[in-house]
Amino acid sequence: MREIISIAFLNFKQGVREKLFWGVIFFFAFFLSLCVLLGKLSPGETEKVLRNEGLSGIELSGLVLVVFSLVLSFKKEEESRFLEIYLSNFSRTNYLSGKLIGYLLICLFYLLLSGLGYMLILFLYKSFIWQVAAGFYSLFLKLSILICFSLVFCCLFSSPIISLFCSLSLYLASEAAYPALKIVSLGPNRFRLSLFKFIYYLLPNMNELDIKSLAVYGELPSLSFFFSIGLYAFVYILFLWLIARFIFLKKEY
């Protein structure tokens, strides 16, 4: 366990010191100022637009940060032979678990920093409602699942570009799965509907995990919902970690 924690903190420190992390923070600060402008362009709905654009910006910038940072660090360690040094001292399972926890911490830290900036802006423009804070919980769950997918792709492919491409495509596919299913369900083809249903339930259910559109209006689901999505995300992460571990154990470095 100590090994996992030390690898996790090492990854966390490395990730936070990287230029990419601060680049994303800078991008988000720029995005926040754009949100203020968009809010001013939305008479009648200024507060809602400010809250919503901010949350969406955090999700998108967080997505870029975790996926790029994880894939690039994995590749860097592989090329610089750091991976060999790690693996000669730690077991493969511990290394992978530490990496996962490290990136979950980076994600949490980013959400904390961006959340503070976001809420400050909401306070300044008198748009703050406490329910938006609950939106961060769902964002963290979504990004956590994505970190795991990136980890699986990093273990599976030796090319970082393919890993990046697959991670982002999977995110897009899981985002589009629900409306696609709704459209397919309007058609007469039962086989296609069953196939889409299968894909929809197999992919991470981003539609259920997302509460942005509710939180910005100050509406929140029940506590049991929060518990359920937490459990769902935990199981999903565990499953993906098992796959990543299986691939990583088989691979030669």
């Binding site: 968009l38 362009l41 939305s42 008479p43 809602k48 969406s56 589009a176 709704k182 995990l209 559109s213």
Partner: protein
């Protein structure tokens, strides 16, 4: 004593100087070049008025539907300032943007307001506004504002009975302001059916508990009762003499009534010769009364 002169080599001075001058020249060229291009070749670019189909947008946006809705909302707001030669095409363009916005996020109520009320002018425009709001009402049944705005549009079209129908609908939605209930008799009166307004107010009298509201409803009831009473006398006059009286006082002179009732709003009743109907100079007094009772936000 040490010689304090500092020596610079030519290479160390000329190099940066050359690049600074070159940079300044290029910057100047860029600036004036842009100005020249703008003035010499002002290209007339066609603007592409296009709104993507909703189904595709729903697929692309995923859990960012609300985000996309905001973008189209802003597009709609900006489209209001676009200049079109064809007014109906402009209304279509603005409404398309707001339609996408409100479909992606039905809670963007202000979108209905812009597309259904703000841009709706002229009979055709108002009708288009009503069509848009009707669609909105189907997907957003709980917002009192949408039926209120439809009612407002019908009011502008002087279809008072339809206006009443939608005000009634609005007044029954959660969060609806109280004045929506007591405003309806006025429209019954304008629609030429004060008798219906009387029945409505009599029903309202039993459901109101707040003493201030009760006083307000009673005043309106008295006002409309007088109108119904006077119209009844007017009918009797016409039946007796076969024509419309010249003045309201003729009813008194004909012995049909002892006194002309007082207008509880402080105005007075009069006979509109063009329509041969009893009318009231209520408008100014009503505004004052509403402002006093705190019912009316716009009156103050």
């Amino acid at each position: 004593m040490v010689d304090s002169k500092i020596y610079f080599s030519k290479k160390r001075i000329l190099g940066p100087l050359f690049f600074t001058i070159l940079g300044a020249c290029l910057l100047g060229f860029m600036f004036f070049g842009s100005l020249l291009l703008e003035n010499k070749f002002s290209l007339k670019k066609e603007i592409f008025f296009y709104v993507p189909p909703l189904n595709y947008l729903k697929i692309i946006s995923g859990s960012f539907q609300s985000f996309c809705a905001d973008i189209f909302y802003i597009r709609g707001v900006l489209a209001i300032t676009d200049s079109f030669q064809d007014r109906m095409a402009w209304i279509d363009w603005v409404q398309k943007n707001f339609e996408v916005a409100t479909n992606l996020d039905p809670k963007l109520t202000q979108g209905y307001f812009f597309a259904g009320v703000v841009i709706a002018h002229g009979e055709e425009g108002i009708k288009k506004g009503i069509q848009f709001l009707e669609k909105g009402l189907k997907q957003n049944t709980k917002e009192w504002q949408i039926p209120y705005w439809i009612g407002f549009n019908y009011y502008q079209l002087q279809d008072y009975l339809k206006a009443i129908e939608y005000y009634e609908k609005a007044s029954q939605s959660p969060g609806a302001p109280k004045f929506l209930k007591s405003i309806q008799p006025m429209y019954y009166y304008r629609a030429g059916r004060p008798d219906l307004g009387l029945i409505y107010l009599q029903g309202l009298l039993h459901s109101v508990k707040d003493p201030r509201e009760l006083e307000w409803v009673e005043t309106k009831l008295k006002w409309i009762e007088n109108i119904v009473y006077l119209e009844d006398k007017l009918k009797q006059f016409k039946a007796l003499y076969g024509h419309c009286p010249e003045r309201i006082e003729n009813l008194k002179e004909a012995g049909l009534l002892e006194e002309i009732p007082e207008d509880p709003f402080g105005g007075s009743y009069y006979l509109d010769k063009d329509t041969c109907r009893i009318k009231s100079k209520f408008s100014l007094s009503e505004k004052n009364l509403k402002a006093k009772s705190g019912d009316c936000n716009r009156c103050k």
